[in-house]
Symmetry: C2
Amino acid sequence: MYKVKVFVTLKESVLDPQGTAVKGSLHALTYNEVEDVRIGKYMELLIEKSEQDIDARVKEMCEKLLANTVIEDYRFEVEEA
Amino acid sequence: MYKVKVFVTLKESVLDPQGTAVKGSLHALTYNEVEDVRIGKYMELLIEKSEQDIDARVKEMCEKLLANTVIEDYRFEVEEA
C-alpha cells in the first residue's frame, strides 16, 4: 500500500479571496505579523500496490480530477504505508 | 520572514463525505487501486519575524481560527523565507 500526499495550491498569479479573508480574521485577532495567507487543498490517498507506475498514475489523477491546472499547481509525495 | 505550512485534517473518527465523493470519481475514471481518500486543508502563511516565539504564535492561530479542534487535527512546519 502507498500513502500519497497531494498538495494543491492556487498559482501565484491567481487571487485568493479566502486567504485574504483569513488574513483579515488573523489581524482582527491581533496576529498582525501575518503578511500573507494562501489557502490550498491537502489530500491523502491510500493506493493499492500494482505493477503500474505509482508516480505516473497519481500525476494522471491530479491532471484529470484533483487539480484544476488552469489556476492551480499541484505536487505530491509517495510513501510506503 | 517565516514561511509556515499548516496542514489541517479531519480526525480519523470523523466521516469525510468529500473524500468519499472524490474516491467515487477516481473509481469512475478507472483508478480502482485507490482505497481511501481523505481531504484536508493546506495553508501557507508568511509571517514577519518578531521577538515572539513563532511556534507558540502559530499554535494559537491554529487553535483559535485555522482548525476546528473538535473534529480536526493540525500540524505545521516553520521555514525561514
